[in-house]
Assembly symmetry: C2
Homo-oligomer: 177 residues x 2
Amino acid sequence: MEESTTQRRTLYQGRVVGLELHDVRLPDGRTALREIVRHAPAVGVVAELADGRFALVRQYRKPVERTVLEIVAGIREPGETAVEAARRELLEETGYSAVTLTRLGTCYPSPGYVDEQIDLFHAQLAREPVATSLDEDENVCMECYTSTEISAMIDRGEIQDAKTLLAWFWWQRERSV
Amino acid sequence: MEESTTQRRTLYQGRVVGLELHDVRLPDGRTALREIVRHAPAVGVVAELADGRFALVRQYRKPVERTVLEIVAGIREPGETAVEAARRELLEETGYSAVTLTRLGTCYPSPGYVDEQIDLFHAQLAREPVATSLDEDENVCMECYTSTEISAMIDRGEIQDAKTLLAWFWWQRERSV
């Protein structure tokens, strides 16, 4: 089923995304155009506090013109492993280090048009925070909820970020095994 | 936390995605650049056959350079509701109509850089197919699996599409209530 690229044009290369157009040859010999968004691999972490609550982050997301409640997440920096990125994002966004970090799985958010891959984790956070001053540049606001509260928010449609919903369900599934 | 656009440039408007650059003013008065991918709203459907198996579709996804196993899904056409799009995609990709269609929820695949929203459904398919010739233009291949087989594929990391994993877990959660 493979599609081979016969010509590639890079239309944009920015800070977060890039855009390429590929002319491809299909298995049956026909040709097609593929619009491909490039995005660095990322991580997402279900961050569980020592008191059993979970640390989520709320931030304004310009593409959807609203604040979105999400798990701790971010782009992997060059040369960084997924585990290293998860530990760094936890510190930056919550101020806590991880006592344990468990891999839940990996996903492609939208493989039809973007190459982004997100590795998902669960972290048990330390009892005391490491940092007291969080990364202020991100306009990120930490909010802590119990498992029951998160389930209720999902039922009411108040959590809509796909990686957050997926990581949460994945963690619930792992726990119940 | 709102960010107001002070200047907008459309760099590309294609068949599947568009790309805009927004200069935004942050709540604290600073300015920032936001790279925004535009994508039409979409639907995804956990399609259950009369024999209890589930119809998934495999297709080559150029951005990730591999075939990906996904639930039935597609972009909503102009003026089409999510329910209408779900019924149309079921017919196009499986050849079956839906006897029941249950809404699971909605999600943003990557609200940090793209506005796409996906409405997720479960469909109970009719006993007999409506169409015998599927949409051949999509290079889509239908594959049917039992619930146990899908769970095992998830455990082995063989299902990596986020909407597919999310819709599957959501459906399992709804069933268990």
